[in-house]
Amino acid sequence: MSDDISGRVAGQADGRRNSDKVLFRSKSLNKSFGGVHAVRDISLNIPHGGVFAIIGPNGAGKSTLLNLMSGLYQPDSGTMSLDGVDLVGLKAHRRVRLGLARTFQKIRLFKHLPVLDNVIAGFHIHHDIPAWQYVLQGTAFRRDYARCRDEARKLLSFVGLEERAKARAGSLAYGEQRMLELARALATSPRLLVVDEPAAGLNAAEVEKLLDRITQLRAGGMTVVIVEHNMDLVMKVADRVLVMDYGQYLFEGAPAEAQVDPGVVAAYLGA
């Protein structure tokens, strides 16, 4: 991993960490769609640092929970906070400024734009130049412009796409698109990175690569939440898991314990 990225991530985690060991906290979250109670009474404590996995069979409500966290949906009831800041009612774009970034299960890149520009769009909240500079484009503008391109290239090389910087994002292979989404999310400099089903549609080598990058991010001090239904992957990378089924809490603890928990085994094997 490039030192710049781990340095930046670590610096941020240290700078903002407070005495509370919990980064993300939720209490009794509920969300229904019509008659479907997709998330039922979910309470979570995600600690600073480490990889936290949310697992469960298809339709368990994992993605809904993630959409509640990122602000795409608002909960029907319950509370959520990031580092002590209340998230309920806060729009998705406001949460990004608090340090929450996400990727999408169904890839949502800016398909018609070059790969590099996809990452550069992720620097939206980090342009700290006065508005008139956008029109007159003086030294401060050019410095900011060069810095964004520089950092975007570093992020691309972190995910192994530096050669494809000028390609159209939609022309990338599926696995490359996933890595690009990761780079774009990292451009916002998140403290909490939420990755939705990162391994879906990837081959074994690509999954390896992805796990390696996530491990590097964790080493740099970032907190990563992975939503996944692939148990093997979770066992390899997660420090802690939450198991959900039918929108409900089933288990929370170390991955190894989840594997032997009778409730979890029953949910997965349908016994």
Binding site: S70, H93, V96, L113, H124, Y134, L136, R168
Partner: protein, 341 residues
């Protein structure tokens, strides 16, 4: 949005500022020479109309081509600029340049208001809402007779006041060449302003919204606010065009801002090439000049015009800009082959 399918994209940000300066100089020289080439009043009027249409097209392109908001009500902002600036002069007795500013501000405010009301609408729904807005504005202009004199129109609108600088001859805008310089000068100014914006992170932000709003908000972009900004900027430019329209034509009737005008401006943007600023400039010039050139065909004129539009949309969805890219690529290939022997 775009039909470009080649994998390697030329990044528009890579174009050096040196070459942009040469283009700017070329544009200034061209504007300076045009009235000298076209001396008769018929073509000089067309020159002014070209410059007005360029303003309208680049304003709409900022909203549609960059922020991706399907605005079919651009004629309303044009009309608001024209009527507000005229009424501020005739009813309030304020000087032209104050009225001009009022036209810009009110047209921009109308654009922002429309965008705020339509904040949840996109695509076809926004198109219908903005079309409805254009119909409403037109109806208000027709029916608020005590203010606008309705279909009777407002006559005898004066051109902008003369500029008398010490030691220089007086510049009168009753002269069509001077009026063209004024309008084209502002068109160029607005072009440069918008061009700077789209080459800044604001351009990146608007393009992100155009491509995928959910993704954009996941990167911290406040989509509704930026759409309001794009609408405000684009419609303010249309307001400026309206103020110049009134003062150059001298007559104001509501039917100049009927909804078909919105579609004409839209056609200029599409024929030129959405999402590039230079494309709509060429589109505006082409679609202003083409109907005049086709006048010799009498009633067939509109058929030919319609056929040309349909052909462009069918075979060249990227417009003139796409055509130029294809020609340039062919030229480069030919040159490479010749150099290779």
């Amino acid at each position: 949005m775009s039909s470009r399918d080649h994998t390697e994209l030329a990044n528009p940000f890579d174009r050096s500022s040196v070459s942009r300066r040469w283009w700017l100089l070329g544009a200034i020289v061209t504007i300076g020479l045009l009235p000298l080439v076209f001396q008769d009043s018929y073509w000089r009027t067309n020159l002014i109309v070209c410059a007005l249409n360029v303003m309208l097209a680049i304003g709409l392109d900022f909203i549609l081509g960059y922020a991706g908001q399907l605005n079919l009500g651009h004629s309303a902002f044009y009309g608001i600029g024209a009527y507000v600036s005229t009424l501020v002069i005739t009813k309030l007795g304020l000087p032209f340049w104050v009225a001009f500013l009022c036209g810009i501000v009110l047209a921009g405010a109308a654009g922002m208001a429309l965008s705020m009301f339509a904040v949840r609408l996109r695509g076809h729904y926004l198109a219908i809402a903005s079309l409805g807005f254009a119909v409403i504005v037109h109806q208000v202009l027709v029916n608020w007779i005590s203010l606008t004199q309705g279909p009777l129109g407002i006559y005898g609108i004066k051109p902008p006041p003369e500029i008398a600088l010490p030691g220089l001859p007086v510049i009168s805008f009753g002269n069509s060449a001077n009026m063209f310089y004024l309008v084209a000068g502002f068109a160029l100014l607005f072009y440069v302003l918008l061009d700077q914006l789209v080459r800044s992170p604001i351009g990146e932000t608007l393009t992100a919204i155009r491509e995928d709003e959910v993704s954009a908000s996941s990167l911290g972009i406040n989509c509704p606010a930026w759409k309001v900004f794009a609408f405000g900027a684009g419609s303010a430019v249309a307001g400026a065009a309206g103020a110049f329209y009134a003062s150059s034509v001298g007559t104001l009737v509501p039917d100049a801002f009927i909804i078909t005008e919105s579609f004409t401006i839209l056609a200029m943007v599409i024929v030129g090439g959405m999402g590039t600023l230079i494309g709509p400039v060429w589109g505006a010039i082409l679609l202003t000049v083409l109907p005049e050139v086709l006048r010799g065909f009498g009633d067939l004129r509109l058929v030919l015009y319609g056929a040309a539009l349909t052909l462009v949309v069918l075979f060249m969805p990227g417009g003139i800009v796409q055509a130029a890219q294809i020609v340039r690529a062919q030229f480069d290939r030919l040159r490479a082959r010749l150099e290779a022997g």
